[in-house]
Symmetry: C2
Subunit: 348 residues, 2 copies
Amino acid sequence: MTSAPGESSRVTISDIAERAGVSIGAVSFALNGRKGVSETTRERVLRIADDLGWAPASAARSLAESRTETFGMVLARDPGNLSVESFYMQFLAGLESELGQRGYGLLLQVVSSREDELATLQKWRRSRRVDGVLLMDVTIDDPRVTLLSQPGSLPAIVVGDPSVAGNLSCVWTDDAKSMRDAVRYLADLGHTAIARVGGLPHFAHTRIRDDAFMSEMRQRGLDPTLLRTDYTAAEGARATRDALGAGVAPTAFVYDNDIMTVAGLSVAMELGRRVPDDLSLIAWDDSVLCEHTFPQLTALSHDVVAFGAHVARRLFGVVDGAPRGEHKDSTPLLRPRASTAPRKAADY
Amino acid sequence: MTSAPGESSRVTISDIAERAGVSIGAVSFALNGRKGVSETTRERVLRIADDLGWAPASAARSLAESRTETFGMVLARDPGNLSVESFYMQFLAGLESELGQRGYGLLLQVVSSREDELATLQKWRRSRRVDGVLLMDVTIDDPRVTLLSQPGSLPAIVVGDPSVAGNLSCVWTDDAKSMRDAVRYLADLGHTAIARVGGLPHFAHTRIRDDAFMSEMRQRGLDPTLLRTDYTAAEGARATRDALGAGVAPTAFVYDNDIMTVAGLSVAMELGRRVPDDLSLIAWDDSVLCEHTFPQLTALSHDVVAFGAHVARRLFGVVDGAPRGEHKDSTPLLRPRASTAPRKAADY
């Protein structure tokens, strides 16, 4: 018996058996909570195991218990793009807060294509690397949803709308309502020409926001402009510049993330348009960045850290056999700040 | 034999044996590359295994090979804080680009204290959860470095200065040189009162930047102001406001991250100070955000995605038994943009 806490070699159950003066079998029974040892022996063995800093090898334990204590998340995104938005880091922080409490880790894999993402999910299933997975950026007819809906698949939760979750449980936000709120708010300020600077069109949440924007604008007899970007600041700047150069330029913009709104604000300043006097800007999602621009940005505010934690809790539920559920998270709320104002009288 | 690719139940080696018409032992020999089967049988077994979508359970394979194909990273940070900076997301993206190529995943755990971080590292070692770990935000006399320097510890790489890496390999950037470059650049523009808005003082890189800033300023007979923050935008704004309210206010600021610089720029605008006419601002690190403010921010530019990839490669080296090394990454370079200008003549 040479191992002790802090020493380099791993403590084995024979070390514990030797110290406790019992058989290896008895130690095994005691550690696994099985019958065959007295309560006194069990307690002594557990105390010694604890003293020695023993922990089951996770690989061996995983085989026995079929739990890896790990959730998996694959992101098919360009690494350069991923680093731009505050959404993912906040979401990860929220996930981690819940996982950490239960001793779970998050296995994160960034891949360059949807095909690689499918292959990773299949590999994880076959090799039992994770207990469950999260699906982000869900598309219409998403092949990952099809894959993970098959019986015997990895437990999964869709982070997205029920309409694209298939047979899987999902956690979703009512983006359509938030978008209609934003349009109504700007319309009430007198704006009639409003632009939406939207994200990638194959994402379901982009489509849902698009539809809500267009239907709310048309219902009010307003003049909608729908601009496409890849979520980058450069595209946000380009879209803003294009729109402001148009014949009838919008007097208000709703952006699909914070960084594009900052870029739009800078373009406005560069072109000599005052925010909010000449132009009103709204960011989605709200972030620390939105509070530290000048002027501060009006934003659709969603607690993304809490959202991440909610998703983690629901995935634990799925792993534990909860029935399919459509779990609605809080609806992003419009938080008016200094980047929105009534449309100037001169424009009427 | 009922399992086939896409079906729910796992393919086992008995399925392969049945299909191939050989013994389970022969399949095992073939799959593990051991002698005892003919080359023809080996090829047939491998083809059938492939057809059936067989993959070794990672838990079983890990026990055999002692490789988890996972690197670990623990971050002792407040989740709210973590989401603010673009550094981590860029760094993760770089890591992932290298890990993905080799089929490795990153096990990420965010904890609330340094004690929990140590406990997580010890748990990972005991339970063989990862092949190696990265140490971020290294402090003077970092207990993690002590822990991981013990023989038999997890392979580890320090992301930080050789002076705090102990016996461990490290990947570092010459922050002192970059800081001296920034001071020299501002001094050449005529600035004499310069403020550094620095991060958390217990991090080694903060101390190194502090020392370089103070020594370069004193050497030039200039007037240094050293301001402390926790890296948040709110603290960046507060520090800027405090400094600008002082008797002899600085005419130039060097900030320890991008978001604090944006916050400082907004404070300047709010107070009616023009950037760069009245005030010069420098951000560290450079980011997409720095290119999309108005004016664009002069910044110390470091390819953080490439830095993350470099760290991953060095950790693979450590795992493969490379001797201790102090690997210097590229030095952050000053990239002048529109937020710095000569000090106004009136100030002289």
